[in-house]
Symmetry: C2
Subunit: 405 residues, 2 copies
């Protein structure tokens, strides 16, 4: 580029730093394209078309396996609302089974007029529905978080896909549920034979037996060839590798709704069948390990609620003293990760940024103190902990997580 | 499963084959899970969590490279509306350049008050927008189609992603376009130095400089680290590996808008700057190579228009004599692949199924005969051919494409 352009650009920066909403955003730096040792991409032939379009080797984005039972989605590196299928979080109870879809069947039996078995191809022939929604593990809270915790480590156990399948109501209508039917057991074809009791009301409302995720077949880690989708309900009820639905008049009281996935309260009682995921939000950028510069940034994050649409997200840039309404990226869908954004001019002084979600039911995301008052101190098995998170910035621009209550 | 259940199931099938809307859909078959040689997934430990969730080895889904310049999306194997990023179609003019994002810059110059250069990180700090829309190659027509042509071979050069980036209007406001500015040149950093002229009206309307596709960084084959997104406009104007925008008062008349990407008309004239993609639809299932059984199916497909939202899709199951309105999967978004569905009870007799799209501008997808009357016989370089496609089913249930006019 010409010297003239270089000179004009410096003038530009001088101007923009003192005017223009986003002017201060840009960092002046020497134009370097002539001095680089990299080959000029316009002077060498590019690579060929292929069966799969791989990621750039310059991008480092992957799930974070932890304790050999979970792997979190890199939320701090994602934009928009879709989670690429190979980055969808994992929480298995006995690993990922290897299933031949031609051998796999779904049995519906119990309090039905006609017990039925469906092959995967049978299911694909029924009228289909597609919906975009999140699935979140009810244990999506990191009680061991430190200042050097990323969003992925903090709450990476939520992901969003565009799911396609057959409404469970259609299948239950085929089988003919009896008038006494109130619950059903959903069972997976994995080595845990994972089971959960689902109220008939949810099954007939918006439950879907899904076979496609983001356009193509489910990934094995998400239940290939079929899983139960219960929009807005805790992840483990969305039974993966679904093989059996038994209709009954009462819940089955499985291990996963008695010993596990119940919320111990300080007074010794437990919340049971606490299946709806409460509204939550998290800032995804800027967060640890980012180091930011003085000037304009866009605070970005996602908010979601198992009760319906996100009504609003409020963001504080002064440690919680004042709150501003963030912009929500449309279309705002029910029970779906909703991207929010707010411009922020950082003045170079230490502060903390945080976000809180309000859903269409009026539920407002609580502080950790509020949660602890009701549920006690969070442990590694704290379910349904959805506190407001804070991210601090120091005078050097280093972002860190603020883990204390 | 018990013998009792086996007996009940046979009774069930007898009943369902003669009643119930979708009863005839199910194929009775012996319950085989006891007799299989496959290991029982509930008796062996599953595989561990990992950094990436790969596809099942039982799924065969990939792009189809052709002529070393394109690869088509397997539309006939996709559900919903999102195209997984590694299956997004390709059309390159000199292959895929290897670009280091830290070396890449976007220059905006020409008729502007302040020529500017942006690093990729600069662009990410601006207020972002996310939108889901298709990109379609204007040459998305196969003049060599035979009865054994899949949807992928026929029109696989359209794909849909959730894109995130900075509105081009924001960047142009920073640079300050002069009052005489009417066009801009967009230039790619590939060995073709691909260039197209874009009217300022489109640039200021809904153009976006995107850096994210389906949540993560663009794939190299889709323009990593940044591409121009012109929703609804022919693919080649959505300049990949975008490195330069030159503002001017007139179009630049590049090779790609003079020798190429113009539509030759029978009278010797050409349509130039025919950039908006006309409304189109295609049935994705059942199509070749599927072989179907008598009974209920769901006809599925996608429809899209560069002019806005899909208003309706009509489907014929009797070779075009009568048409029924298909159901559209919401939310219906502007300039986006829209899934349509219609239940169909095939009676076992040969027929042809077809679909036609109507968009919110009132444009109706034409027949091939109507197109040929206006544009002449399609060649391998026929641009903007969007005819109604027909799929025949013979008495054995074999689906084939009907290529003749």
């Amino acid at each position: 580029m010409t010297d003239k352009l270089n000179r004009r650009r410096f003038l530009t920066h001088t101007t923009l730093l003192s005017s223009g909403l986003y002017g201060a955003l840009k960092t002046p730096k020497a134009i370097s394209s002539e001095n680089t040792a990299e080959p000029d991409p316009t002077k060498v032939p590019g690579s060929n078309v292929s069966e799969y379009g791989l990621r750039s080797p310059h991008e480092d984005i992957k799930r974070l396996p932890m304790f050999n039972i979970i792997s979190g989605t890199p939320l701090h590196k994602l934009q928009g609302s879709i989670t690429p299928s190979d980055l969808h979080f994992e929480r298995h109870h006995a690993g990922i089974p290897a299933i031949d879809p031609n051998q796999h069947e779904l049995l519906i039996h119990g309090m039905v007029d006609r017990p039925l078995k469906f092959s995967v191809n049978d299911l694909k022939r029924f009228p289909a529905v597609t919906r975009t929604c999140f699935i979140e593990c009810s244990g999506n809270f990191n009680a061991r978080a430190t200042p050097q915790t990323t969003v992925q480590m903090l709450c990476g156990l939520t992901s969003q896909s565009e799911w396609t399948g057959v409404p469970l109501a259609t299948l239950l209508r085929e089988a003919g549920v009896t008038t006494k039917a109130r619950w059903l057991l959903a069972e997976g074809n994995d080595a845990a034979v994972m089971t959960r009791s689902i109220p008939m009301s949810k099954a007939l409302d918006d439950a879907v037996v899904v076979y496609a995720q983001n356009g193509e077949a489910l990934r094995p880690a998400q239940g290939y060839p079929i899983r139960l989708l219960l929009p807005g309900w805790e992840g483990n009820t969305n039974i993966k590798w679904l093989r059996r639905l038994e209709v009954s008049d009462s819940p089955f009281m499985t291990r996963e709704e008695t010993a596990k996935y119940t919320d111990a309260l300080p007074d010794g009682r437990v919340r049971q069948f606490s299946v709806v995921m409460d509204a939550r939000s998290v800032i995804t950028s800027p967060t640890y390990p980012e180091r930011i510069e003085k000037g304009w940034h866009e605070i970005r994050g996602i908010a979601w609620s198992g009760r319906g649409k996100i009504h609003a997200v409020e963001v504080s840039t002064d440690g919680g003293k004042t709150w501003l309404k963030a912009e929500l990226q449309g279309p705002v869908l029910a029970k779906a990760h909703t991207r929010f954004r707010l411009p922020w001019q950082w003045n170079g002084k230490p502060t903390a940024i945080m976000s809180r979600a309000i859903d269409e039911s009026g539920y407002r995301q609580p502080t950790l103190a509020e949660l602890v008052e009701v549920r006690g101190l969070p442990t590694a098995e704290a379910y349904h902990f959805n506190p407001i998170h804070a991210w601090e910035v120091d005078a050097q621009g280093q972002m860190t997580f603020r883990p204390e209550v």
